[in-house]
Symmetry: C2
Subunit: 334 residues, 2 copies
C-alpha cells in the first residue's frame, strides 16, 4: 500500500472506530426503547440529514451541539424537583448542629415532616432552605455531600435511587447523538454543582458540558491552601430567558437540537430553532400517569403550556411518553 493509501485507510478506520459505527451496530436500532412513531422518525431523519456528507443540511462535527434540560427531560421531577428533596434531606442531616431550628420556620415544620406547611411561603422560603443547605462550604465539600446523597438517598414514592429514575429512551438518545458526532450538553435550571458530581457516570455528560443555575463562589486561602467557598447569593438562574443566555455564555455557539419538557425550556427552543439550516426541537410530554406522572398546563412543577402551543404552530416534535416510549426508567429494561 502506498503511504497516502495507508493514511486514508487509517483515517477511515479511525473514524469508524471513534463514531462507533461498526457495521453490526449500524444495523441495530439505536433507539430500541422508542416506539416507531413520529418522534423517533423525526429524530432519525434529522440526524441523518445533518450528518450525511453532501446533504444540503450537513453540519460539521464541531457545530453539532445538542442541549438537554434535566428535570423532567432526562430524569423525573415529581412530586417536586429532586434538588429540593436533596435540600430537605440536608436540613434533617444538619439539624443536630442547629438546635434553634426546632423553634424556627420553615425548619421546625420540615423536621416534623410537614413539608407542605414548611413550603407554604413559596419561592422565598425555598430560597432560604436552598441557601442554608447549599452555601457556606467549599466546592470540594459540596461535591462530597452531593455524591454521598446520590449514592444513598431514595425517592419518597418509588423508593429507588434518584439516578435510577432517569429515562431509558433519553439515555439511548444521548448515546445515539454522541455516536453521530454530537456534543451533548445539559442546560438546566438545577444547580450546576448539584449535577456535575454524577452526570458523567449516569448520562455520559462530563462536568464541562453541564450548564445550570449557580450561587456565587469566592476564592480564598484556607489553612494555606486555595479554596472556592460557596456564598449564599445567587450568581445565575439558568431558566426560561436565562437558558439562551447561559448557552451563549458557556458554549458560545447556537445549538442545532434542543430537548426539554416545560415552559422553562421555551426560550431555549426558540433560540435553537431560529438558527439557519436544519433544527430539531423536542418536547417530552408527561402523559403517563401509570408508569410515571401525567401533568402539563396547570402543574406548578414543570408546567408545559406556552411551549406546547408554540410547538403546534412551529412543528416542534412532541413526545407522548405513554405512547412513544416502550419503557420509562432504565431499570425497567432489566
Amino acid at each position: 500500500m502506498s503511504r497516502s493509501m495507508k493514511t486514508i485507510r487509517l483515517t477511515v478506520l479511525a473514524t469508524i472506530a471513534v463514531l462507533g459505527l461498526t457495521p453490526s451496530m449500524q444495523a441495530a436500532d439505536p433507539l430500541p426503547s422508542w416506539n416507531d412513531t413520529a418522534p423517533k422518525k423525526a429524530i432519525l431523519t434529522f440526524v441523518e440529514k445533518v450528518t450525511k456528507p453532501g446533504s444540503p443540511d450537513f453540519v460539521p462535527v464541531a457545530e453539532r451541539i445538542a442541549v438537554f434540560d434535566n428535570d423532567g427531560t432526562l430524569w423525573s421531577e415529581q412530586p417536586m424537583y429532586f434538588q429540593i428533596l436533596f435540600a430537605l434531606d440536608r436540613v434533617k442531616a444538619l439539624a443536630p448542629q442547629h438546635p434553634e431550628w426546632k423553634e424556627k420556620e420553615p425548619f421546625a415544620s420540615l423536621l416534623k415532616g410537614d413539608v407542605k406547611s414548611a413550603l407554604a411561603g413559596g419561592e422565598p422560603t425555598i430560597m432560604q432552605i436552598v441557601m442554608t443547605t447549599h452555601a457556606g462550604m467549599t466546592t470540594g465539600e459540596f461535591d462530597t455531600i452531593v455524591r454521598d446523597w446520590v449514592a444513598t438517598a431514595k425517592h419518597p414514592k418509588t423508593k429507588r435511587l434518584y439516578t435510577e429514575m432517569v429515562y431509558q429512551p433519553m439515555l439511548e438518545l444521548l448515546a445515539y447523538l454522541r455516536a453521530n458526532g454530537f456534543k451533548t450538553y445539559i442546560v438546566s435550571g438545577g444547580g450546576v454543582e448539584f449535577m456535575r458530581p454524577w452526570t458523567e457516570r449516569v448520562y455520559g455528560i462530563p462536568p464541562e458540558q453541564v450548564i445550570g443555575s449557580s450561587i456565587k463562589t469566592k476564592f480564598e486561602m484556607r489553612d494555606g491552601k486555595p479554596a472556592l467557598v460557596r456564598l449564599p447569593e445567587i450568581n445565575f438562574v439558568d431558566d426560561k430567558d436565562g437558558k439562551p443566555v447561559g448557552i451563549n455564555q458557556q458554549i458560545g455557539r447556537r445549538p442545532i437540537a434542543a430537548f426539554g419538557n416545560s415552559d422553562g425550556d421555551h426560550q431555549m427552543f426558540q433560540w435553537t430553532t431560529a438558527g439557519g439550516g436544519a433544527r430539531l426541537a423536542v418536547i417530552v410530554h408527561h402523559t403517563d400517569a401509570e408508569r410515571e406522572t401525567a401533568y402539563d398546563r396547570t402543574s406548578s412543577i414543570g408546567r408545559l403550556d406556552k411551549a406546547l402551543d408554540e410547538a403546534q404552530v412551529k412543528g416542534w416534535t412532541v413526545v407522548d411518553m405513554k405512547n412513544d416510549w416502550k419503557v420509562i426508567y432504565s431499570l425497567q429494561t432489566k
Copy 2:
C-alpha cells in the same frame, strides 16, 4: 484475524490516528521553536509523566485540562491590551453617528489622537469606553464587528494584523498538548465575545473552551426573532481571584496545567497546582526588548511581581522569552 484481534487492532489504529502519534511525528521535535533549556524539558517531562500508562502520575484523558491566559501569554499585550486598541478603533468608527463626542471627554481627546489624555481618568474612563463600544448590539452583530476588525486592523507599532502577533512557541505547545489528549482552554481577563470569533482559527481553541470576562446579555424578541442583546453592565471579571471562579463555573474540573504571564494569573497557578498528582505551572516572562517588549514588576499592563516571587518558592517554570524561545511571532518562522 479473530474478531477480538480485529477490534484491538482497530482501537490501536484509531488511537494512533486520533492522537496524531504516527511514528514519524513522534520522532520529530514537537516544540521546534523552543531552545533545549529548562522550560522545554519541564514541559516534555510533565507531559510524558501524565500520559504514560502505568506511571504513578498518569492522568486519564478526560482530566487532562490545560488553561492558558491570552494577553501576554498567547499573543502580545503592549503598548496596551489589544482589546483596548479595538475599543479605540471602534470610537473612531462610531464617531460619525455621535457628533456630540467632539465636545465630550474622553471621546474628544481620542478623536484628536491624544490617547494619553483620553485615558488619564484610568479604570472608570476605560470602562466607559468599553461599554460604549461593546454594548447595545446583539451578540451576532458584535461577532461580525470583531471578525471585521481582526481581519483588517493593524498594530500601531508592528503594523501587523493582531492575530499575527501570536507566539509561535505557544502555538506549538497548544498543538503538542492536544496531540497528547489535553483539552486546551483560554482563561483570560479579556472579553469572552472578543476572543471567540477568532480563537478556533488562530489557536485551534473552539468557542466553548474560551473563558473570559463578560457583560450581561438579555434575551428578547427583535422583529419576531429571538436575540441576545449586550447590556452596558459587567457580568463577570475573569481576572486574578476570578480565574479559579471562572474555571470552576465553566469547566467544573481543576486543571492540571496552567500557563500565564502576570499577577492576573497568580490565583490560577495556585488553584491549579494545589490539586493532587503532577501539576505544571508555566510563567511566560517578557525579557526580550529587541524582539518583543521587556517588562515585569513595574508594568501597568501585565505586571508580573507576586507570581514571580511565588514561582521561585514553589518551583513553577519561568520561561525567559529571550533565551528560551528561538522565535517570538509565528510569521518569523516563514
